[in-house]
């Protein structure tokens, strides 16, 4: 312990206060997850089993995919999309209807992603005009919810063939497809935000919209791209989710929006934009899923679980915010 402290102090002296703060911020969460795993595997029976890990990863996959996509919006300085739930539901409905009609889950998935893209394009355009993203996405969410309820008559939409569940049941070496899709989508989102001109524009616009304008970078274009990246995540996540439940109703998944926002926040992406990464948000989603799973295994009641999760999210987000402020001084 003393050597760790000693080397930590030496590191601070060598690289400076600011770098140490950045380091803490970047690695705090992965270290925390490892610690939680170690503590849980010692104290909670049946934690360190393949089934538990699999369940955690499966629970992470849906929110993780959306958190990775949402990061693009947050990075671009447009806060969050607060219409996640209703978009997922509508995409899910489209997936089941199209699959039922054509018999092909791939056509169904395509329909789900296309409708999500159309919704994202519209919202991105309105936000790009300079309207407040929170207001726009909340409003859009309400409209989408209403139209879904009208289209389905408030009824549960059912999968007519078991074929629709193939996406959820398919597995490679016992790793379920949603988890593989999460890994693939995170990799793509990382590549898009870090290695492409669109991704760079997203960062630049997020850091300073006015400087970006003077540098010839379009706020409108960049915002639309950010919403489109998020829309693909919505469509993919909806397909994965509905493949598991095989049915969907207008008022399903009410907790999704908050879970996705919490994952992005815990991941440490700056709410003000510019600074962050989809990978961090996925780690945030992983942390939430892990904590929730431990509490399930430990037999904690649902109310208490939600309470503890809420407290953990708030404490972590405040800590990260303070670290960021200290680092930017």
């Amino acid at each position: 312990m003393t050597t760790v402290q000693g080397s930590a102090i030496a590191f601070q002296e060598r690289a400076g206060h600011r770098k140490a703060m950045d380091g803490t911020r970047n690695f705090a969460l992965p270290i925390l997850i490892v610690l939680v795993f170690i503590v849980a595997s010692i104290s909670v029976p049946q934690f360190l089993t393949f089934e538990t890990i699999r369940a955690i990863l499966l629970a992470t996959s849906i929110t993780g995919i959306m958190a990775a996509g949402m990061t693009a919006i947050t990075l671009s300085g447009n806060l969050f999309s607060l219409g996640v739930t209703s978009s997922v539901v509508l995409s899910g409905v489209l997936f089941l209807w199209t699959t039922n009609a054509t018999g092909s889950i791939f056509v169904g998935a395509l329909a789900a992603i296309l409708v999500a893209l159309a919704l994202g394009l519209g919202q991105g355009f309105i936000v790009g005009l300079g309207l407040n993203p929170v207001v726009v996405t909340l409003g859009a969410g309400a409209v989408i919810y209403g139209s879904t309820a009208m289209m389905t008559g408030g009824e549960v939409v059912q999968a007519e063939t078991r074929e629709a569940g193939r996406f959820a049941t398919f597995a490679v070496a016992d790793i379920p497809l949603p988890v593989l899709v999460l890994v693939a989508f995170t990799a793509v989102a990382w590549f898009l935000t870090e290695r492409t001109t669109i991704g760079r524009d997203v960062h630049l616009v997020g850091w300073n919209r006015d400087t970006a304008k003077n540098s010839g970078i379009s706020y409108m274009g960049t915002t639309i791209w950010a919403f489109l990246i998020f829309s693909v995540a919505i469509g993919v996540a909806a397909v994965m989710q509905v493949s598991q439940t095989l049915q969907v109703q207008a008022d399903n998944f009410p907790e999704l929006t908050m879970n996705v926002v919490a994952a992005v926040l815990i991941g440490g992406t700056a709410v003000s934009g510019g600074d962050g990464s989809p990978v961090k948000s996925v780690i945030g989603a992983l942390f939430i899923a892990t904590t929730a799973q431990i509490m399930v295994l430990a037999g904690v009641e649902q109310g208490t679980r939600l309470f503890v999760l809420g407290v953990v999210v708030v404490v972590l987000v405040i800590t990260l915010h303070l670290l960021r402020r200290a680092g930017s001084r």
């Binding site: 492409t196 760079r200 960062h203 850091w207 970006a212 304008k213 540098s215 970078i217 510019g274 930017s328």
Partner: protein, 502 residues
Amino acid sequence: MNATNPFRLEATGISKSYGAVSALVDANITLKPGEVMALLGENGAGKSTIVKIICGLISHDEGTIKIDGHEVELHTVNASQAAGIAVVHQEFSTVGNLTVAENLVLGQRGAPWWWSPRKLNSSARAILARVGLEDLDPSTPVEKLSLAEMQLVEIARVLAKDAKIVIFDEPTAALSDAEIERVLTVVKRLAAEGRSIIYVTHRLGEVFEIADQVVIFRNGGSQPPQKVSDLTVDKVVTMMIGRELGDLYPHRAETMGEVVLETRGLKVAGTRGEVNLRLRRGEILGLTGQLGSGTTNIMRAIAGAEDVLAGTVELDGTTLDLRSRRRGILSGVAYCSPDRKADGVFKGMTIRHNMSSPWLRRVSAFGIVNRGEESAEAARDASHFAIDQTRMNMSVGNLSGGNQQKVAVGKWLGIRPRVLLVEEPTRGVDVGARAEIYAQIRRLSDSGVGVIVSSSDTNEVLGLADTIVTFYRGAQTAIKPADEWTEPELVREVMHREEVLA
């Protein structure tokens, strides 16, 4: 201090530094009751620093401040208000959607937490009458007022605080002549009531109209106070400049070639009349004027960042597409804004990513950034501006002002600029970096890039530009080769010819 101390305010030996930069060195101000003192000086001379210290916005490092003979600590705005000091700010600190009456009690010490609207309005009327706004309905939202009315409400807010010392920080910067007259009348009335006035301004005419004494700031220090009756405009201008053009500036243009850029009948929002400029190859054109003189609007219009009302800009004989900044960049127009923090650099991003921001697509294929090419081009451009190659991964926000400015200008090299527009090229930049920035701007001009510089620092324009164009309140007023200007002449020109002639 004895009881018959004649001074309302005595500030002695005030110093303030930000890190290694001294903003104020051993400044002294004394003020008697009923006296109007004008503070003059160029941008960055230290006059706004001392105002901020007196009104408690920043604390000084050394020196003492006495009010009525008693030493006071003015470390917070509240302490300053309690000591009887009030400030009329240059930026309006009124809240637009609140009413005039509500704004008058806003931020006021000792205001009750609730007043009935009737009582609020009647007390407001009494105060408004004192600034000549007796006809104004106190329940009007402030955002519906004219600029002059807002400024007068701002002054009324200060009166509501019943201050002994009132500081005016360029209260007339945005006003027309008739409106200025109203403000000056109120200032005179306040002084007649026995209040002491500190009046910060750029307009010399006002000084001779209202001030009893003048303190001139230069390079962070104050000059001994002078009685206005002993002064002339020329004397004031000489005292304000007080420095020589040294080795700071590069050589002048050796030869001037064909016309690179020409504006024909250009009209832009915020300017009056047509702007007709002609820039030749190898020449640096300098635009100068005070804040709000319209130079910013003109530069932004040529860059494609502001709407053009009429006229055209021709670059190498072809008409420039001024419809967007993106089109401007594609035509090779580089533009550095006057305020790099606001819209010149990305503080949180690395030097490399700042440098590549305008030309990222040139080093990308199918939307994927070629990071090797990006690094190479950024490093090449950085070396031209003497930016440390080992710091390319450092956040620009962690750099000094000088290095940030080098990044703000240097990032444009990568678009292969045909024209470089630079506003305030060295605002907040230390002397060493200034020389490097000037030298690089001259090198670019020598290499065939058309360069237009705009600056409110007349000394800078005189040192750097080959031809100088002056602007006053949105209108182009004079155009002459730099060697036909003297600095006092130039200062007088941008400060308003009529005022000075009067």
